[in-house]
């Protein structure tokens, strides 16, 4: 549990510190903020966002320290404070807390009044150090060889990623804030050229964020240039780091670290495609950039944040280049993705109860009956998800009754409730209330309640009992967050190879989940985009079901 929390906190810190450094670049490079000039509304907004983000980053970084200290105390039975706070990790983490707090105070101060050149320099320096110092709590600092070059490469990679994702965050934030102050739109529209007026009118009618009020397309072009060179640096440093940490192509598919790198690349490709489209729009935008740019930027930001969480999960995995004896072969990985007939018949519960490990015990080995049970559960769950995907497609092509597809979630919830643990009620000897005292069972049943709530909620959206805006955004957000969490999630098992092969399907599940979420987001957000987003999310959703349906553990 501590490990999972650690990964989530590290991902959160990556996002929040990106908002800080990306915000500084947004202010200095894009909005051209100058010393000794009181910030206007957009600049003050960006500075306040930086202050809030870095305050959060300071808290999250402090929490990472506590999680690490708690894990050591748990293992040692004491709190070795003296030794802990002499480690490179603890010293760096404490310094990062102070850097984040400094950025927060500086940004909050500068949002209220004109700042000197020294304050701007201090803000830029501390924000850069905050992001770059992340390399000192990463794999790079723990490497035995090539330590300092790897720290430098990692720092460059993270600074570039922060400029890209953080800059996107500020672009979206600005647009949202500007969209809310829509009262001034008619006046602005009347002062614009015809092409811009048309774009603004379209935005007004669709209630989209108003990106055109960045006023000069040159501002967007400046951001586009910044994002382009950031991306070049991300890719260049990323390639070098991949060479250092992965080593050879076989490790890309035969280790968890390699698969996570591939996952990051897979998420980056559509983000790059969107960035390319956005850049082209921005560079020829003598007219209004329009709603398409706005929605694409939101999706690009969403994919960027997912990539940052995938990057955080890399910190918990041993570099692929070190995994030599526990590496899976390409054939072994391919076998896990080779479809076979789904197992739709349950293994005998009695046999499972006889042979399985104690419910709360540590898993020492995976027994055949446990594998059969796991596959059976996956396959039935996949059947539910494929059914929902198929019904969602039918609805999309005009079969009206199929709009009730979210109700299939209720079937899935019932299945989860009955099957979540063979030792618990109604299958096993533990009674209903007794089984709720077991953390695993309680966790799963809470999850079942969430599925029921979500089924009813999404059904109400589909049947127009709830408005598509804003309630229609809940489903894509949950898909995207769930997909991202799945990428950060793994189980401690018997050995690295078993663990990797059991979980190798997590990566595509997470990726297709994220794609389904952002496809649906575009469908709701940008009706003018046509049917493509609708087909994308339904296709990805169905693919998730198919992966589950053909899941294999052996």
């Amino acid at each position: 549990m501590a490990g999972f929390v650690d990964v989530l906190l590290r991902g959160l810190i990556l996002v929040l510190t990106s908002v800080a450094l990306g915000g500084v670049a947004w202010l200095r490079v894009v909005l051209r903020a100058e010393p000794h000039v009181k910030p206007d509304a957009p600049m003050a907004l960006a500075l306040r966002a930086i202050a809030v983000a870095t305050a959060g980053a300071a808290l999250a970084q402090a929490a990472v320290v506590l999680v690490g200290l708690g894990a050591i105390a748990d293992a040692h039975g004491t709190w070795p404070l003296g030794a802990f706070f002499q480690t490179t990790f603890a010293v760096t983490a404490v310094v990062r807390v102070m850097l984040a707090a400094t950025v927060a105070v500086l940004a909050a101060t500068m949002a209220r009044r004109a700042a000197s050149g020294a304050m701007w320099t201090a803000l830029t320096t501390t924000a850069t150090l905050l992001v770059a110092s992340s390399a000192i709590v990463s794999h790079a600092v723990a490497r035995v060889e090539w330590r300092m070059p790897l720290v430098a490469l990692d720092a460059a990679h993270q600074v570039a990623a922060a400029l890209w994702v953080g800059g996107l965050a500020h672009l979206v934030l600005y647009a949202i804030a500007n969209g809310r102050s829509g009262a001034s739109q008619p006046r602005r529209i009347s002062n614009r050229p015809p092409a811009v007026r048309a774009g603004l009118a379209a935005l007004a009618t669709t209630n989209m964020p108003d990106y055109t009020s960045l006023n000069v397309p040159a501002v967007i072009r400046r951001f586009s240039t910044l994002a382009f060179w950031s991306m070049v640096a991300i890719v260049a440093a990323g390639l070098a780091l991949t060479f250092a940490y992965v080593g050879d192509p076989g490790a890309l598919v035969g280790t968890a670290y390699g698969v996570m790198v591939l996952s990051k690349v897979t998420l980056l490709v559509p983000a790059l495609a969107l960035a390319y489209v956005n850049m082209r729009v921005a560079r020829r935008a003598s007219a209004a950039p329009g709603a398409r740019l706005g929605s694409f930027v939101e999706v690009e930001l969403g994919l960027g944040i997912t990539i940052l969480f995938a990057a955080a999960s890399l910190t918990s995995l041993p570099p692929a280049v070190d995994v030599t004896t526990d590496r899976a072969s390409v054939a072994e990985v391919a076998a896990r993705f080779t479809p076979t007939a789904p197992r739709l018949t349950s293994p005998p519960i009695d046999e499972l109860l006889r042979t399985a490990d104690p419910l709360m015990g540590r898993q020492l080995e995976r027994k055949p009956v446990e594998r059969a049970w796991s596959e059976y559960n996956h396959h039935w769950a996949g059947l539910f998800v494929v059914t929902m995907g198929a019904l969602a497609m039918l609805h999309f092509v005009g079969v009206r009754p199929a709009r009730h597809w979210p109700l299939v979630f209720l079937g899935l919830a019932t299945f989860l409730f009955v099957r979540n643990d063979p030792r618990a009620w109604p299958l096993g000897p533990a009674g209903f209330w007794e089984s709720l005292t077991l953390p695993d069972v309680l966790q799963h049943r809470t999850f079942v309640l969430l599925v029921v709530a979500f089924a009813i909620f999404e059904w109400m959206v589909r049947t127009q009992r709830l408005a598509e805006r804003p309630w229609g955004y809940v489903f894509p957000m949950l898909c995207a967050v769930g997909g991202g969490l799945l990428l950060t999630h793994s189980h401690a098992m018997f050995n690295l190879k078993d663990e990797f092969l059991t979980e190798v399907t997590h990566a595509p599940l997470g990726i297709f989940g994220a794609f389904a979420g952002w496809g649906r987001w575009l469908e709701v957000r940008l009706p003018a985009a046509g049917p493509a987003p609708g087909w994308i999310w339904r296709g990805c959703f169905t693919t998730v079901g198919l992966i589950l349906l053909f899941y294999r553990e052996g």
Partner: protein
């Protein structure tokens, strides 16, 4: 643990359950080696990892078949490489012994593991 966790994957689009992350530090080699049969009691245990470790926050202990623990204090001097942990071992009785280790890597991860060796009568 019974694989009920697998059920959660079905609805991973909505949320996932928390679980420990994978191991971070890897044990690359050890002395005594895993599953070896020794004729005499080892005087030290040496563990070499894939990354730098914080030795003051890392530990080794030996456990016999009955669960008796033989303390093995780790050396705390920087006279060895940054990725190697040495522990002094008291004289051991014949039988099976499990080496349990737990290290704190320089990048801030606590990782533990174990392996066995046997001491001949």
């Amino acid at each position: 643990m019974i694989p009920s966790r697998s059920v959660l994957l079905a609805a991973a689009l909505v949320i996932v359950a928390a679980a420990p992350v994978a191991a971070h530090s890897l044990l690359l080699s050890s002395s005594p080696a895993a599953d070896v049969v020794l004729q005499t009691s080892p005087s030290v245990v040496m563990l070499r990892f894939n990354n730098r470790i914080e030795k003051r926050l890392s530990r080794v202990r030996l456990v016999d078949e009955r669960g008796t623990i033989a303390t093995a204090p780790t050396t705390r001097v920087d006279d060895e490489t940054a990725e190697t942990l040495w522990a002094a071992v008291p004289p051991l009785a014949p039988g099976a012994w499990r080496v349990e280790w737990q290290v704190f890597s320089t990048d801030g991860h606590v990782v533990s593991g174990s392996y066995q060796f046997r001491l001949a009568p």
